[in-house]
């Protein structure tokens, strides 16, 4: 890593290599234990041409109750240069009761760059019975390839204003999982064949689709965290192998 600038509570680990694999693994750590009313995290990543990076979040991102009424913001800006590759498999985002949170994620790629990106959103501290008790949760996720916006996933949940359990919205699902793959080699993925391998069972639904350009998106709606996360890990690893 030629440049690292960090300020507590955010910290990046030193770079780690596994054997002869040129992919560098970096852990992203958040030492505060969670975001509190009005906190702001900014994460900016720039991948130099031909670099291969795997970023791992060390723990779940917890959003504490907004006792001041202020929203916590997280902004992630990623630039991936020619022939570079990024894998990002974050932990779960957990908005506690009364939390207010907004995350704006923007990925900018070249035609030749690759990204495999995942995210999981929890309904709250489910095991404590906190289910959709947060105040607001907003996620704006954008992918640009050569300056063209190819995907915009925008969720604006305010459970007090609109029932998320309605038909067509989240229904009985509690966890939302997403995987995004953008790569010049995406046409090597047989989406139909891949779709047939997706595990669908009581309480776990999945879908896969081609986006504009060289991109694939998988989405899960699950009642239970463990099975959703296991299935996402499997799909994530399978896609990582393919491109």
């Amino acid at each position: 890593m030629p440049h690292v600038f960090q300020q507590p509570p955010l910290k990046a680990s030193r770079e780690l290599y596994e054997g002869k694999d040129p992919t560098v693994t970096v852990y992203l750590m958040e030492s505060s234990g969670g975001m509190v009313a009005g906190d702001r995290n900014d994460i900016t990543l720039k991948l130099a041409p031909e670099s291969k990076v795997r970023l791992i979040q060390q723990s779940a991102l917890k959003i504490y109750p907004s006792h001041t009424g202020e929203t916590c913001f997280q902004r992630i800006d990623v630039d991936i240069d020619e022939d570079a590759r990024l894998e990002w498999m974050p932990e779960v985002i957990i908005p506690f009761a009364d939390a207010k949170f907004q995350v704006d994620t923007t990925l900018r790629l070249k035609e030749s760059s690759t990204v495999l990106w995942g995210e999981i959103i929890a309904p709250g501290r489910e095991k404590r019975g906190e289910i959709y008790d947060y105040e607001s949760f907003r996620s704006n996720f954008k992918v640009y390839v050569e300056e063209e916006l190819i995907a915009f996933d925008s969720l604006h949940f305010s459970p007090n204003e609109a029932d998320l359990r309605r038909v067509g919205v989240l229904e009985d699902a509690m966890y939302i999982g997403s995987v995004w793959l953008i790569s010049p080699n995406v046409d090597q993925v047989d989406v139909r064949a891949f779709q047939e391998t997706l595990r669908v069972e009581e309480g776990l639904q999945a879908g896969i689709t081609r986006l504009e350009g060289n991109a694939i998106h998988c989405r899960w709606l699950g009642r239970e965290q463990w099975s959703l996360q296991e299935e996402m890990k499997r799909v994530y690893a399978a896609l990582a192998e393919l491109v």
């Binding site: 907003r138 954008k142 992918v143 063209e148 916006l149 190819i150 995907a151 915009f152 996933d153 925008s154 969720l155 604006h156 949940f157 609109a162 998320l164 309605r166 038909v167 067509g168 919205v169 989240l170 229904e171 699902a173 939302i176 139909r192 779709q195 047939e196 639904q205 999945a206 879908g207 896969i208 689709t209 081609r210 986006l211 504009e212 998106h217 989405r219 709606l221």
Partner: protein, 246 residues
Amino acid sequence: MKRQKEDLNNHSSTVDTLTDFSLLQLFQIHDSGFPIGSYTHSYGMETYIQNDLIRTKEELVDYCTSYLFQNMVHGDAILIQEAFDATLEKDVEKLLELEELCGAMKLAKESRDASVNVGRQFIRTISPLQDDLFLAEWKERIDSQSIKGHYAILYGIYSAVTGTSKRHAVLTFLYATLSGLIQNAVRSVPFGQNTGVQAMHKLIGPITEATEFVSTLTLEDISNNALGIELASMQHEYLFSRLFIS
């Protein structure tokens, strides 16, 4: 008489009043005889029907209400409104941005393709009826494949150049889309015609409410919370047998 005439003049100068001509033009583009292919798209609803999740009139109304408020209001309806304003300002850059956004936010391939296919059929059908230069230029961009031609954007442009009010453009778009869904449900569930009529009648209140709400929204409010429907639209691509293209 004089008084009445003045009143009429006042009305015609407000943005929400339509001339008879504009009103009938709106009727025509939403007529079931207008060939834009809405009867071939379910936008994911067919997956719900095949999973046996829409069996009663109440379930159909519930489904349509979610589609209305959690998908259309925060998606296409905002884009129509923005495209309408951008057309009046002749702001082509803005329209191109909206066109890109419209494709990017429709994650499920079939719903995205449907938006383009309906859009292209729409422009093909209306262009012989209109000699508006701005609309012709937009068609030129579609023909030369510099843009895709998403329906919501075209519809916003068309509404602006034909002198429709923004509110009526949104109102009738929401009505026509839900009416299309209901007719498709009548054919595939199957429901009787009367069930369809009653379901649509129940949605009229929510549609007017939704239209009012859309007028308070901007591009910042674009979102799609109807993840169940979006997932169903992704799954629709792989259904074994299907009546609808999307």
